[in-house]
């Protein structure tokens, strides 16, 4: 199984490669990718350096152009595709059907991966993308249980990549418009969720409050650990109860599922987090490299090392991890 790691900038890309990533993925500095953060992502020059570095070490590079081209910006998205191809990336990670069509027609020889933002949750959906656009691989949304992944893996016409570790989207990716409802900007349109420009922190007599475009997302008592106000991870009131009504702040960690994922023929495991620091990427890549190597040596006797689990928990949101939807009872 291939280890695919996030590269939010050149130092992170190099650290990922050094720590054993088989492939890294990056985006350009604009709204064409789903991690549009200030100071993050690659200029043409940096991308060139990064791709040279990865290729010199025998690693692959994917370029994420996985937002949806907006009515006033088609050329910006096609330019990103052309630019990535000229840079010599090993694959394009795309979501929009029109952009997939463009890449298929103009760059038939460059591999196309379906982004998680393309929301393919069944083998029929994968067939659609495969027949229409010849995709080579698809990244599966984080909404499927392991049983559902198994059914899908039996009949998929393409390679499958699954999320292994990092922030957990609880909604089917690519079909979540919650962020634009509150802020006007969403993953699909602007490559952002709960964008920082709309976040306000305030100390009040009731406690520390986090707001997103004025809407109270959470309120913390003294000594409580405060998290980034991602809108689906706040505490809200439903029918008289105030709780994490949608999801707790927690990270996905599928380390213990590795033997099963390998058995299903999953081609790659993906680490989320282009917005994370090079140090974070380096630690996560290192742990997952060790785990995958151990898995290769003795798949039948694989057991997650407690030091790995502790290391990953430390790097997680709310310092807790979950198997998420892979585990049926989470739903």
């Amino acid at each position: 199984m291939e280890l695919v790691c996030p590269a939010g900038n050149l130092p992170a890309l190099k650290r990922a490669v050094n720590e054993g990533a088989d492939a890294v993925y990056f985006g350009f500095q604009n709204t064409t990718n789903a991690r549009q953060f200030a100071g993050l992502n690659f200029t043409d020059k940096r991308a060139h350096e990064g791709i040279d570095y990865a290729h010199a070490h025998g690693k692959r590079v994917f370029c994420a152009i996985n937002t949806y081209p907006q009515p006033d910006g088609w050329q910006q998205w096609t330019r990103a595709v052309d630019q990535a191809v000229e840079l010599g990336v090993d694959a394009l990670i795309l979501a929009d059907m029109g952009l997939l069509d463009y890449a298929t027609r103009h760059h038939p020889n460059v591999a196309r991966h379906l982004s998680v933002q393309g929301s393919a949750t069944s083998h029929e959906a994968l067939k659609f993308y495969h027949e229409q656009f010849g995709i080579k691989r698809a990244v599966l949304p984080r909404v499927l249980s392991i049983t559902q992944v198994r059914d899908l893996a039996k009949q998929t016409p393409v390679e499958l990549e699954v999320f292994a570790f990092g922030s957990l989207c609880i909604m089917a990716e690519g079909r979540c418009y919650l962020s634009s409802y509150l802020t006007g900007e969403s993953p699909n349109t602007r490559g952002v969720c709960s964008p920082a420009a709309h976040v306000r922190w305030e100390e009040t007599p009731q406690g520390l409050e986090s707001r997103l475009n004025g809407v109270l997302i959470d309120r913390y008592a003294d000594g409580e650990r405060a998290g980034y106000p991602t809108l689906c991870k706040g505490r809200f009131e439903v029918d008289g109860e105030t709780y994490h009504a949608i999801e707790e702040p927690t990270s996905l960690n599928t380390l213990e599922l590795l033997p099963e994922l390998k058995g299903l023929g999953i081609s790659a495991v993906k680490i989320e987090g282009r917005q994370r620091s090079p140090a974070y990427v380096s630690k996560v890549a290192s742990i997952w490299r060790q785990a995958l190597d151990r898995l290769e040596e003795a798949p039948d006797r694989f057991h997650p090392d407690s030091a790995w689990m502790a290391g990953l928990a430390e790097l997680s949101e709310g310092a807790t991890t979950t198997l998420g939807a892979y585990e049926r009872r989470w739903k």
Binding site: G98, S122, E124, L144, A172, V215, K331
Partner: protein
């Protein structure tokens, strides 16, 4: 403001909530007499909601059809299991009514069988190239993504016409906006029940379950695995603008009470008869229209400055 082009058709979207069989039957019996042109039927949210079988929908569809309505059957938006795919196949092969495809699994079934389809809003149709792909696959009409602004839509419609894509489009004009789908059921979560043994608690909430901020602001509406907007979108006053832009259909999303009044208000509006602006008159809910003006969806142009 008389317009030279035809005023939009009115469509009734699928019921997003889980009602009882009697409730659906009563609702559609009444709807047969409403001034709506198109009715979209079916369960689009959760496969565990099994009170209504495909045959039940087909029966209602035939009755509405006899009352002169165009009938559409909508597919489930989040397809997860082999059982979901089996139901989807039956729906696509129904033989009577055109299907609204709400995910790529449905697109695959319909396009490979060379069946025409309506392209749903969750397919993310934001640009002429994507709409071109859909047109070649058999699209007859398409729904605008809920987050698209009037300005972007006007440009998109123009650009589509220039590239030869001329299928009509449909705007979500009234109701709580469908904003997200999850494998987790949030209604069951509120009741501390696992999804597999949810006891169909969402049937207790015929208009969803309000999710409020700790300051009692209606943020979202929980509807099983679906999350809707907390406020109700109302674009009644935009129908003439829609007509001028080339929007063909205005979709109204069913609510459990007061739907006849909503339909009548839109019917009046499309014939140029707008009552004085009173967004709270129809129902007891926060109103919004922000997306249409290129702002956060929750904004309400009638109560907020700027």
């Amino acid at each position: 403001m008389p317009s030279t082009t035809q005023s939009p058709q009115i469509s009734l979207g699928p019921v997003l909530y889980y009602w009882t069989r009697e409730h659906y039957a009563d609702f559609y019996r009444e709807a047969a007499d409403w001034p709506v042109d198109i009715v979209t039927l079916g369960e689009t949210v959760c496969s565990r909601r099994r009170d209504m079988k495909l045959d039940d929908w087909l029966g209602i569809g035939r009755e509405l059809s006899q009352s002169g309505k165009q009938v559409v059957l909508a597919s489930q938006t989040l397809i997860e299991s082999e059982a979901d795919l089996r139901d989807l196949r039956k729906l696509c092969d129904n033989g009577d009514f055109i299907v609204e495809a709400n995910d790529q699994s449905a697109l695959q079934r319909l396009s490979s069988a060379r069946l025409p389809f309506i392209a749903g809003a969750a397919l993310n149709l934001y640009n002429p190239a994507t709409l071109g792909v859909m047109a070649r696959a058999g699209m007859q009409r398409w729904q605008v993504p809920v987050e698209m602004s009037r300005e972007d839509l006007a440009r998109l419609i123009d650009d589509c016409h220039q590239t030869g894509v001329s299928q009509p489009c449909e705007v979500f004009a009234y109701g709580h906006l469908p904003l997200a789908w999850s494998s987790r059921c949030f209604t069951a979560r509120r009741h501390q029940k696992p999804k597999d043994r949810c006891q169909f608690v969402c049937q207790q909430y015929p208009e969803g379950l309000a999710l409020r901020s700790q300051e009692a602001h209606d943020v979202f509406t929980l509807n099983g695995i679906q999350t809707l907007s907390g406020a109700c979108q109302d674009l009644r006053h935009e129908l003439s603008a829609m007509t001028e832009m080339g929007v063909s259909v205005a979709r109204l999303s069913p609510r459990a009470t007061g739907m006849a009044e909503v339909v009548n208000a839109f019917d009046q509006a499309r014939h140029g008869k707008l009552p004085a602006p009173d967004p709270l008159a129809l129902v007891d809910a926060e109103m919004c229209d922000g997306y249409w003006y290129g702002r956060p969806g929750m904004d309400n142009s009638r109560t907020q400055a700027g």
